[in-house]
């Protein structure tokens, strides 16, 4: 049965103070919306040959999603197009009612991870220009993420340097599942350039590197993909630490986006314990893995960890640090976190202020 009478977006019971939303997914209203930012040569290429990623699936996600476009059913813009494709509706449904002072855009499934590196780079540039044109120049609350053709380090680094000092962007965006684990040296030019222009690198769940969502093959269910993101993120983070990325790029800051944070303590304990015994294998590391993680890593909250007893959540956050969490909704995706509902009672005003806004403003350099 279809909805017959579409109501206005529900007036939200939201947090009273301003917040930062560190994971918003802007969408294209039409398949050709990037064309004005792409050379004519690529229009014809896309229509003739398409986009080939490092995976068997040519089109669409490897798993069906729980809602259409993996997005909230109430987020279709009234003027048509998929969820997240209208600035005015995003303002009405997300930015205004939830008092969002800073919204970080993370465009997905754009130019990342294509086997044709020239196409990947052209699409990344187009998506970055599109973020300015359609979003950040029209609403100063929104800030973009520099998308790069991530499998070609030098070209990606050039795209990052091209955006140096551009206040439309607050981070460089990577995904967690690439051709190789993220600490490998093919990706080092990206970290070098990000450190040079002073922006953090966000690592968002998903990716097109051709590897399954689990470390031991393709699982049956979407729910396994949903929980599998934390495995991929652990692989990425362990690789970044153990390859010595933070030793080589000591000012680099990274954000773990949409992959949870409940696993951070156990991964770190295990890394530290083995580091004591296997230090001679990784002599380029001067400090314990936990120290690199504590100093270089920030975490977005959505999908928020939700243990039965709130003390467990507080202990977990105590370990990670209230200064390292960045609130995020994941709008317009279906597993959206409503800002007034994510924290249980018993959090101090100072910690709430850090969690909802101040950590993000500080990390992303927003006054």
């Amino acid at each position: 049965m279809n909805v017959q009478f579409r109501p206005e977006p529900a007036a939200s019971v939201s947090v009273k103070t301003a917040i930062a939303d560190c994971d918003i997914h802007p969408a294209r209203a039409t398949a050709t919306e990037l064309y004005p930012f792409l050379a004519k040569r690529w229009h014809e290429h896309l229509e003739t040959y398409g986009k080939q990623a490092y995976q068997g699936m040519m089109e669409g996600p490897p798993y069906p999603k729980a809602q259409p476009n993996a997005s909230r059913r109430d987020a279709y813009p009234p003027e048509g197009g998929p969820q997240g494709s209208s600035l005015s509706f995003m303002q009405k449904q997300l930015l205004d009612p939830h008092n969002v002072a800073l919204g970080v855009l993370n465009p997905l499934a754009t130019g990342q991870g294509l086997r044709n590196h020239d196409l990947s780079a052209a699409l990344a540039t187009a998506v970055n220009d599109w973020q300015i044109d359609k979003w950040t120049s029209k609403d100063s609350r929104l800030k973009g993420s520099i998308v790069v053709g991530n499998e070609d380090g030098p070209t990606a680094a050039a795209e990052i340097r091209k955006r140096a000092g551009d206040k439309n962007f607050v981070q460089v965006l990577l995904l967690s599942r690439n051709v190789e684990p993220l600490g490998q040296r093919r990706y080092w030019p990206i970290y070098e350039a990000a450190q040079e222009i002073g922006l953090p690198v966000g690592v968002h769940a998903f990716g097109f590197g051709g590897n399954p969502i689990t470390a031991s093959g393709w699982p049956s269910f979407y729910i396994e993909e949903m929980v599998g993101h934390s495995q991929c993120q652990q692989t990425a983070l362990a690789s970044l630490v153990l390859e010595g990325v933070f030793e080589r790029f000591p000012k680099l800051k990274m954000v773990m986006i949409e992959a949870g944070f409940g696993w951070a303590p156990s991964l770190t304990w295990r890394l530290d314990k083995n580091f004591e015994r296997l230090h001679s294998e990784v002599p380029h590391l001067k400090r314990k893995p936990s120290e690199y993680i504590r100093d270089h890593i920030w975490w977005t909250t959505q999908p928020m960890e939700d243990p039965e007893r709130r003390e467990h959540l507080f202990e977990l956050i105590e370990w990670i640090g209230w200064d390292k969490l960045l609130f995020a909704t994941d709008y317009p995706h279906w597993d959206f976190d409503e800002p007034s509902r994510v924290l249980p009672a018993g959090v101090s005003d100072a910690n709430k202020q850090a969690f909802y806004l101040d950590n993000a403003k500080k990390l992303y350099g927003i006054a």
Partner: protein, 137 residues
């Protein structure tokens, strides 16, 4: 408890739903195969507009490999996180101990009784010759 007149029956044919606000509460009234149901249009989980979700059936399994699909069209699935509620009772199938959607009784009353009875017709004129959908809040 106040009885509110929602609409003439003809305006809410089977397969439709109507959204309205009564006493500042967002309400949705459904006509499912001629039966009427009322729900608070706010998901008890995180506050989404629950009644914008699709109506589905209930998939349950008594033993591995045995799947029963019942209550066809009587389970409302939240447009955000997909939580499922029984439209007849508001019962949650995700976390029945902690969460329940607020269900309101809906009836069809003849216009003659609506004119006389303890009803509030929020926005419509009532004619005695029709039947009306009425919700108790």
């Amino acid at each position: 408890m106040t009885r509110h007149v929602i609409a003439p029956v003809d305006e809410l044919p089977p397969g439709t739903r109507k959204f309205l606000t009564i006493d500042e509460r967002p309400i949705a009234i459904f006509n499912i195969k001629g039966e009427f149901f009322g729900l608070l249009n706010r998901c008890p989980h995180q506050g989404a507009a629950l009644c914008e979700g699709p109506l589905i059936g209930l998939a349950q399994s008594s033993d591995p490999g045995e799947i029963e699909y019942t209550k066809l069209g009587e389970i409302i699935r939240c447009p955000w996180h997909g939580w499922e509620f029984d439209i007849r009772t508001g019962q949650s199938y995700c976390d029945p101990k902690r969460f329940r959607a607020r269900a309101y009784p809906v009836n069809v009353e003849p216009g003659s009784s609506v004119v006389k009875g303890p009803y509030v017709a929020e926005t419509l004129k009532v004619a005695v010759e029709s039947d009306y959908v009425v919700v108790d809040l």
